[in-house]
Amino acid sequence: MGKRVTRREVLKAGLGAGALALGTPAILTYGQGEQTIKIGDIDPLTGNYAAEGESQIRGAKMAMAEWNAKGGVLGRKLELVVEDNASNAGISAQKAHKLIDQDKVAMLIGSVSSASALSITQVAHQAGMIFMVTGGHTDPITGSQCHWSTFRICTTTYMLAAGLAGTLHKKFGGKWYFLTPDYAFGHTLQESYQSLLKKLGGTDLGASLSPLGTNDFSSYLIKAASTNPDVLINLTDGQDRINSLKQAAQFGLFKKFAIGGGLSELEVLQALPPEARTGWATLEWWWDQPHTPHVKEWVAAYQKAHPDGSYPSARTWFGYAAMHSVALGITRAKSLDAVKVARVLEGMELPPEVKLQPNRVYFRAADHQLMSSEFPGEAIPDGKYPNIFKVSQIIAGDDVALPATATGCTLDYPA
């Protein structure tokens, strides 16, 4: 019996300590004389896109550290408040409300899943707050559902498709079957590929829609193989892409037809065993750009901050560019007022030490889409990390984006 009481006491003590730990930092934060500028970051730390989410947060923190080392923004330090959305659209909206109402953040950045990003754009727009979409690709974010308050770092699904479709058609042939994740990102990416395929004069053999977070792709792959395509256009990303490629490799499908397309990432490539690490895909940034200024230094700075042997990915760059854009916007607007900052960001070009790629990178004024490059290329099966992808060319965003007049975006600034 005595034992039981002791345990209870320990528990109570533990609870007390826990409550203390929860309470203290808030008091401390408000006790500090100079208030920080809080930036809310909603990214997946769990679920299908957890690896990508972590990279985006790392990038944002790097940029924040650079600004804080120079004395912050408008004389105030930046502070990143990170919330996990598990790539769930509902949770994303909740977290956005929490950051806006409770944490009183000045701006929002983040998200990997397009569905999450779309849901946060609504909340941010209602609150009159800028949301810098770090990594949700679906077209409507800067297209039919664009807002004055939404800006986007990563490229659109159309840009992703336009950077690669021609190459796939020329190299492997025009009979395509699609493996598509069943949500906003997959749908718009597939539409883009289909419209490009039509222009190229190819044959659309159909598509399998797989729910986000699918483990077993065997049945989808059986269906795909039964159509005898020239190319299986794999539009999945993250964990789904790892699962589908691993299983396709075991089924020997890479020997039957080409598998490529869609968006790949360093995070995905490094999680694939050699036999599944093959095929053509588009990346949106690559660490190995020997002729681009500042890239080598940036990679070194990343590795100094994260001595775990990893290399920065496109996602790291997204987070980095998002935080820099926000900080640059506030600095140039000399204000935290969302409309003023938005006006400054329109047309703003990223400086060379931030853009880290050869082409001109700027926020298009008409739809708030960052015109950054596509890096299509081929995975290297027998390469050793980080040399596991060969970029074939770096295409400027301007060359693959739909013209601003064709995106369906009309910005809705408050009157």
């Binding site: 345990r7 730390l45 769990t46 679920g47 299908n48 957890a50 690896a51 989410g53 972590e54 069943d182 399998s208 829609l209 797989s210 729910p211 977070g213 699918t214 483990n215 077993d216 065997s218 049945s219 989808y220 792959l221 059986i222 269906k223 193989a225 039964s226 964990q239 790892i242 699962n243 691993k246 299983q247 490799a249 075991q250 089924f251 020997g252 499908l253 039957k256 995070e267 995905v268 490094q270 999680a271 694939l272 065993p273 050699p274 036999e275 690490r277 775990d308 990893s310």
Partner: protein, 289 residues
């Protein structure tokens, strides 16, 4: 027609895998009445340990030692945390505890091995289809089939013919009587819990050959596992196997006609079973009725 045949066959192979995952969960649930939400956690512990040990022990060595270590880890968790809750009749306590554990284990995995996926590989010989027409029958899936068969039969024989097994079976019926006959039920339950975690670890180590080895891997496998147990019948090991096979085949058939519903169909089956026969296809009348 060929597509349907392919998908039924493929569904069976997938179902075998669900069955293997469900065995450990069913074992713990039936004797300890613990709804182990941390099952996915033990799954990734086994998978990560096996991956880490592969360079030293080879694929097969790691496949044995990794899950064994997951079992030892399960034993420690049982001895330090879970066993305090046996006295409380409400399963909510153990549910909350194991739910918390699931989050902690996943985060620890992320801290130790990183959020980025690891390239878990399968021996070259197993990593290809056995025939070009039936390309979905790979050496690796045959290995999973064989292991599941061996494990299921072994478990059946153990429960049927060994003293420990007979005590476990008796314990699932009436733990108090077993205790009053002088059997140390704490030891029995600890052993049972560890065995359940071993099976989870084994399923996890095998899963990492097909899926990406990332910290959330356990989450996505946990749901089909629970569905297999509930459909098959809580408390019945044969039911867990049957449940696994059933949802595998159902998902396969659905994919032939309406792929987008292939994930939803397993929950639909669970719904129907819960309405018509809440104890599950082969379950005993107890926990849910």
């Amino acid at each position: 027609m060929q597509l349907l045949f392919f998908n039924v066959f493929n569904g069976l192979l997938q179902g075998v895998f669900y069955a293997l995952m469900a065995l450990g969960l069913a074992l713990i649930l039936s004797l300890s009445s613990v709804i182990n939400m941390a099952h996915g956690g033990f799954l990734i512990v086994g998978a990560y340990l096996a991956f880490t040990l592969t360079p030293y022990l080879g694929f097969w060595g790691a496949l044995v030692v990794g899950p064994l270590l997951a079992g030892v880890f399960g034993l420690i968790v049982e001895q330090t945390l879970v066993r305090w809750l046996y006295k409380r009749p409400d399963p909510l306590y153990s549910l909350l505890l194991t739910f918390g554990l699931a989050l902690i284990i996943q985060d620890l995995t992320r801290t130790i091995w990183g959020a980025q996926g690891l390239p878990a590989a399968v021996p070259e010989a197993l990593n290809q289809p056995l025939s070009t027409t039936l390309f979905f029958i790979t050496g690796y899936r045959m290995v999973i089939l064989a292991i599941t068969a061996v494990v299921t039969i072994g478990l059946y024989l153990t429960l049927r013919y060994t003293l420990v097994g007979i005590r476990i079976r008796a314990g699932t019926r009436d733990l108090e009587t077993v205790a009053s006959l002088g059997v140390n039920i704490y030891k029995l339950r600890a052993l049972n819990f560890a065995a359940g975690c071993f099976f989870a670890g084994l399923a996890g180590a095998l899963a990492s050959g097909i899926l990406g080895l990332t910290p959330p891997m356990g989450d996505s496998l946990l749901m089909p596992t629970f569905v297999a147990v509930i459909v098959g019948g809580v408390g019945s090991l044969a039911g867990a196997v049957l449940g696994g096979l059933l949802i595998g085949v159902a998902a396969g058939i659905t994919t032939t006609y309406y792929p987008a519903a292939s994930e939803a169909v397993i929950y639909l089956i669970m719904l129907v079973v819960l309405v018509i026969r809440p104890r599950g296809l082969m379950g005993k009348e107890s926990i849910f009725e």
